[in-house]
Amino acid sequence: MNKILLLTLQLAFFITVAPLLSGLITKIKNNIRMREGQSVFQPYYNLVKLFSKSEVISGTASWIFRSAPFVVFSSTLTAALLIPVFIFTSPAHTMGDLLAMVFIFALGRFFLALAALDTGSSFGGMGSSREMFISSLVEPALCMVIFAVSLQFGSTDISTFSGAHAISVSSIVAALALFLVSIAETSRIPVDNQETHLELTMVHEAMVLEYSGRPLALIEMASYIKQMVFFFLIAQIVFPICLPSYENLAQAFSWASWYCVRIILISIAAALVEVAVAKMRLLRVADFLEFAFVLGVIACVCAIVGV
């Protein structure tokens, strides 16, 4: 019972905080650009607005288009459950490990890419093709990172490295590689741009172009959560601070606040990258991800050498 309570709490935490994180990054970005910018709560307003709008469905769309938002939403939340947030071991950790998480994200992406093709719009096809291209190149880089982490901590279970003690070169390099991967996965500059609807550049936005109203809200929600999951992973790899074992809820919350500080640091880094770097051509993304891959290899070598 305790476990289910904790899991529900974790879900609620991810759902309520994830949009804030996205709003925060946008705010930081705007402030760096010397703009006032929108409120940090803007993503919430957007979600509420989308929820209260009626939905337009394309005449050519089938049940794939209708079901994809739910698959995306549930797969992202499932991945979020695997992350230890309040306690040392996520209560759901027997469900899967870090590798399983990669496959779970792939499930949502698969359906979203299909839904994009479903409406028969060439924008959707474009987005779908590009997304699958990028994600298939993300996969090796991500796998290399996980390999490095597994070499260092002796397991791919997420709780083993949230429980490790020392900060090592290997984990910092691995976290850096994971950061690059997360940029690609959360469709940020230089891989994708969340802010434009320009057919030459859009990837994620092209896939969800035909969505409106509540389904769009679900998809947006899922991408906020996905971003947060990646940031949590980075935070845990680079600052492996012991989380308390569960039972003590009060202590759990104090650790959660420590977490927040780390997450905010990562968000600032993400915002800085978005402001400082220009969007890359699609085919240059391969080079970008190769760089992440090479960082992963370096992390592996460091782990083998033992630094």
Binding site: S75, D97, G125, S159, R214
Partner: protein, 611 residues
């Protein structure tokens, strides 16, 4: 003296039983499917003939995996090849079938020649064709001989399995056969070669050098990547699936090669685990590839074309086939909680756990193999988004697709059975692993009684002590619960009206099927990214009315088949050239032939006198 009445004609150890199970689990639904599929396609006489050939085909495969004697094995092996050859050329009206059949039969006989060579060498040591006698003889064999036998077995079985660069027949033969046969060939027949590798290399010969495993791993990685990259470029749906067989054989061989490597490193525990992962992927591939070929057959039957560019929108006219194909596509793309996911996860874990137990640079090598597997699975997902999306989604792009009708009951039943299995083999992973561990242990002659993988009902834990968990049923449950939660949130307040409207067309005109993304367009980024290997080229042709006005414009893009052009074509040219020069010896003059006979007799007399 020839051992003509052998002790073990047939074997029934866990490995053989496992392969028998795989054969029947795919053959049964394919046979049911063929009732509906063949009806109306061929005259009754031909249908009866196809049933006869199918029966021989299935029985010979069963004999291959249970043979306890090399002679029985070879006879069954050749029967299997011939039966499948006749099934490949079943559509004798098509020029392409004959060509595909010829390539197939030539390649398969080259493979068989290598097998026979390997068995002959083994026989010269054992003086018996019995498998266990061979096994005993192999213990005392010099390392050099073992290496030679290993390489010939690898080439022989590799030809049948379709390891790159011996895969050349696969994309011709598999698509050309009737679909239920393709499903058996791709799902099961190529697996008999994996059985051969496990039985003859691992069980009988015994892995004696580390490079064996490394070689198999490298070939496996190449097969994975080459298979999936070619599949991405393909728009013939059955050819696409055939290339995916090359890829998946690669994944299976990753498990097998890893098992060989760990055996040579003295890590029997990990060897059993890796082989178990390989066998798991083997049965999974049999299930989902069988399913996908049956679905492709349904599409072909309903529309009369295999070119996915001409299809589209079939999900509305063929909802069942679409749903089954989607399940197959999800399984092959390793999406949870279906079966492909579990076995790919296990294979990746085998690499990860192995890397923890070896030293130095070997860790990196294993890491690279694992990463290539990850790349493969990413590309496979992309390919199946393409295959499913372009075939079944959006609007129909030709009248073939517009007039498609859902297929008959027996075809649906066959597909339903296999698609159910993709779910069952995902959720019941724990039980299946327990059985497969036994099969893997018996295949390598390793006592597994003290190396239980600590499994309980819902979690599978690859290494005792290290807590790595995966629980497909739990995962499925959570996915379902959260999906329903999403639905509840969705419907929480008063439902808003949802409006049906045309797809956004930028305000110009009504979009039609010509504006849809095609398979060629979808795979364009991949074509450019892998252009160093695919060597794409395009043909454009403009027909002008005047300098200013182009009346029509044709555009074609093709890729060059590297292996065909730079490996097989030169060999073929050489063969034909030498055949042409040999023809000079045979000009048709009886006098010359009499002289040949005379010279031969003299040479024979000389030979008999002096030697």
């Amino acid at each position: 003296m020839l051992d003509l009445l052998p002790k073990h004609i047939f074997l029934s150890d866990p490995l053989s039983l496992f392969f028998l199970f795989v054969i029947f689990i795919v053959s049964l639904p394919s046979a049911i499917y063929s009732f509906g599929y063949l009806k109306g396609e061929y005259p009754l006489k031909k249908i009866i003939l196809s049933w006869f050939l199918l029966a021989i085909f299935i029985l010979s495969m069963a004999a291959v995996v249970t043979a306890g004697n090399v002679l029985v094995f070879l006879v069954a092996w050749e029967m299997m090849s011939l039966a499948s050859y006749f099934l490949v050329v079943f559509d004798t009206t098509h020029e392409r079938s004959i060509k595909a059949g010829t390539i197939y039969v030539v390649m398969t006989q080259i493979g068989a020649a290598f097998l026979i060579a390997a068995f002959m060498i083994m026989y010269s040591y054992a003086r018996s064709f019995d498998l266990f006698a061979l096994k005993n003889a192999c213990l005392a064999m010099p390392a050099q001989t073992k290496n030679i036998i290993f390489v010939s077995l690898l080439i022989g079985f590799g030809t049948k399995a379709g390891i790159v660069p011996l895969h050349i027949w696969l994309p011709y033969a598999h698509p050309q056969a009737p679909s239920h046969i393709s499903s058996i060939m791709s799902g099961v027949m190529i697996k008999t070669a994996i059985y051969g590798i496990i039985r003859f290399v691992m069980f009988i010969l015994g892995v004696s050098a580390a490079w064996w495993g490394v070689l198999v791993l490298i070939l496996a990685v190449i097969s994975c990547l080459v298979g999936v990259i070619y599949a991405l470029m393909e728009h013939d749906i059955k050819k696409l699936l055939a290339y995916h067989s090359v890829e998946n054989i690669g994944i299976i061989l990753l498990g097998v090669g890893l098992a060989m490597f760990f055996t040579s490193q003295g890590l029997p525990y990990l060897a059993v685990f890796s082989l178990m992962a390989g066998l798991y992927h083997l049965v999974n591939h049999a299930i989902f590839k069988g399913l996908l070929f049956l679905c492709a057959g349904s599409v072909y039957k309903a529309t009369g074309t295999r070119d996915i560019e001409k299809l589209g929108g079939l999900i509305k006219t063929m909802p069942y086939t679409a749903a089954y194909f989607l399940l197959g596509a999800m399984a092959i793309s390793a999406l949870p909680p279906l079966n492909g996911f579990v076995s790919e996860w296990l294979t990746l874990q085998a690499f990860f756990l192995g890397a923890l137990n070896v030293i130095g640079g070997t860790k990196l090598f294993l890491g690279f193999c694992a990463v290539m597997l990850a790349l493969t699975s990413g590309l496979a997902a992309a390919c199946f988004v393409k295959a499913f999306g372009i075939t079944f989604l959006a609007g129909p792009r030709s009248h073939y697709a517009k007039e498609a009708k859902e297929v008959s009951l027996s075809m649906k039943a066959g597909m339903f059975f296999l698609s159910l299995l993709t779910i069952v083999f995902g959720l019941a992973a724990t039980m299946i692993i327990r059985y497969l561990t036994r099969a893997a242990g018996s295949a390598m002659d390793i006592d597994i009684s003290h190396m239980q993988f600590s499994l309980n009902n819902i979690t599978l834990n690859p290494q005792a002590g290290k807590s790595i968990y995966l629980s497909p049923p739990l995962l499925a449950l959570v996915l379902l619960v959260l999906g329903i939660t999403g639905l509840v949130i969705f419907c929480a307040w008063r439902r808003k009206r949802s409006v049906r409207h045309n797809t956004w067309d930028c305000g110009y005109y009504r979009l039609d099927a010509r504006n849809e993304y095609t398979a060629t367009a979808f795979s364009k980024p991949f074509r450019i990214a892998f252009s160093f290997f695919l060597l794409p080229y395009r043909k454009t042709q403009k027909i002008r009315e005047s300098f200013y006005h182009v009346r029509s414009f044709t555009y074609e893009t093709h890729t060059i088949q590297v292996f065909k052009k730079y490996l097989y074509d030169p060999v073929l040219v050489l063969v034909f050239r030498s055949a042409k020069s040999m023809r000079r010896l045979q000009p048709g003059s009886i006098h010359l032939y009499l002289m040949y006979i005379f010279i031969t007799i003299i040479l024979l007399i000389v030979f008999m006198r002096w030697f």
